[in-house]
Symmetry: C2
Subunit: 368 residues, 2 copies
Amino acid sequence: MTSTPLRRALLPQSVPLLIVTRGEGVESVHRGSVAVVAGDGRLLAAAGDPLQPVFLRSAAKPFQLTPFLAAGGERRYRLSTEEVAVAAASHGGEPFHTRTVLALLRKGGFTVDDLHCGAHAPMREETARALSIRHEKPNALHNNCSGKHAAMLLACRLFGEDPATYWRPDHPLQRRILDVVSRMTAVPEERIGLGVDGCSVPVYQVPLYNLALSYARVMGPRLTGEPAREFAARRRIIEAMTEVPRMVAGTGRFTTSLMREFGGSLLGKEGAEGVYAVGAPSRLAATLPASGAVGIALKIEDGAERGRDAVTVEVMRQLGLAEGSRLGRLRRLARRPVRNVRGEVVGGMKPVFSLDLFAPERTAGRPR
Amino acid sequence: MTSTPLRRALLPQSVPLLIVTRGEGVESVHRGSVAVVAGDGRLLAAAGDPLQPVFLRSAAKPFQLTPFLAAGGERRYRLSTEEVAVAAASHGGEPFHTRTVLALLRKGGFTVDDLHCGAHAPMREETARALSIRHEKPNALHNNCSGKHAAMLLACRLFGEDPATYWRPDHPLQRRILDVVSRMTAVPEERIGLGVDGCSVPVYQVPLYNLALSYARVMGPRLTGEPAREFAARRRIIEAMTEVPRMVAGTGRFTTSLMREFGGSLLGKEGAEGVYAVGAPSRLAATLPASGAVGIALKIEDGAERGRDAVTVEVMRQLGLAEGSRLGRLRRLARRPVRNVRGEVVGGMKPVFSLDLFAPERTAGRPR
């Protein structure tokens, strides 16, 4: 099919975020959009099209876990901090991840066969290689979403609902999750786009602005009309994710290192197809004209993972959230030089965007 | 680093070429540019920025093989058609590929250790899996460029030059190749950008228009000033590539199927980072206002391979180069539905561009 002017106009007005170089030349360009939003809803900074629709993918995981904890799942199943964290993870399938997920399953009398996420090779390459050497096939525990699915099964037990269909959009658990996503993103349910995620559960499409808003709000105080137990649940989830970040991603992963770097005070979560979301508390966001926490959301338009972390670090630099030696370390974590097959560096990557900063309290200048 | 207006202005003015959908929503967008050029240099059609610089990557392979054949390499080493084709291939590392490359090496007394391309797992997944099951490590023969490298080694033997440094930009063989690239693309040597390819040999950056031009010219008659033996060499290379397309890519690969579909009359070649080039003889291009062959070149701006084949087929459809049942088959070859981990289709891809057709001989209408 061919384009119509209408269709073309509906596509996001993204901007170049990062270039990939080879020798002296620019070889490829990753475009996208960035939104930085305060908990009160003010758009503090943006690049590209902050209103572009974006599927949350795994950035929805803290919200997908909320109904279970809000209903008392943590006490009922005596969940450890590690178990809470892995239930909101896109984990590497490392042994400490799969062990923890298996323990979760067993608490509800479930087995790996009850997981509907499907099996893929562990995201952590060393673990995948080790499996392969032992002639073992990856199973659903290795799926980066297995913790989320295990918690969904436990939620069915807790609520007395059918665990065999937990992944269906019309299952009461998924309805409860949609409600949380709707309230945290401030998008009415009927305006949230639905799709099927890689792991077969519903996935939610909202404007990028609203994803950023939800990450500001999840770090902040109780919202108007938010049930107390739901507020407590999402605080506990963020606490667990930031306390044991190795459970949330894994060895050598950017998200784990980013959260470690901030010693538990900052939330970072990647989503598939080039999504990244950050929640920073007011204290870290002191250089920004926001009285509360700040949420950052970005989408690499083409869905590439390459460069996503480097763009995240650059956004944090421009916002004054990362500087000095911490900035240096984050940049090294995010850097992926272009190498030839022999491993020699033959190119690199460079962010090429400037956030537009909307700063009513400031009349001149930008954070460095 | 941040962008300057200058830097941003220098990035290509690409357009959305293909959307990736999930459910009812657009999840990601691949932008890029297309150039369709006649052998006489006329720009027949374009999308985005047909002058954007593009590294040829593996689309340069027919030109990289030309000096060796022009110097009599085929007769000297009694090359089979398969051997000529694999020397211009981005092959899947399948047994029939590696056997052929090994035979090439032996004709010059070389071994796999003389290849400087590095080792990577076979592009053909079944072959990679089979290696892994046998606990064998991939070697340089499995590198998709090993045929090209083997021919470069033979060329050193033929020219009496050092085979240990054949990959260096200042090696006389690479100087000869640069000369061919310059003449076929009609870009002066000093204006060709140089980099290091994934397989460690020099890689060439020229405007997309000039890549398309070179693929029109390589299908066409002898060029002014072109040495007769060089003309014969590049004719022989195109003949071999189109005669045994399984050697040029491999089982299940788009390039192999595309060339088979046209029964040897059309040349297709992919390059890394979202490059595709097609050479179509005048007979196939009869619906276009060109008296000779036509070259097509496209670049997915973000370097993604996903969607590249579908964009290629859509360009051919809009040019009238593919229609009816052939179009249907090509679309099926290029199609890559978005699946969840369980293998269920949860999204798709759609081209969203319209080529601007520049057709002085036509005053109205477009090819269907």
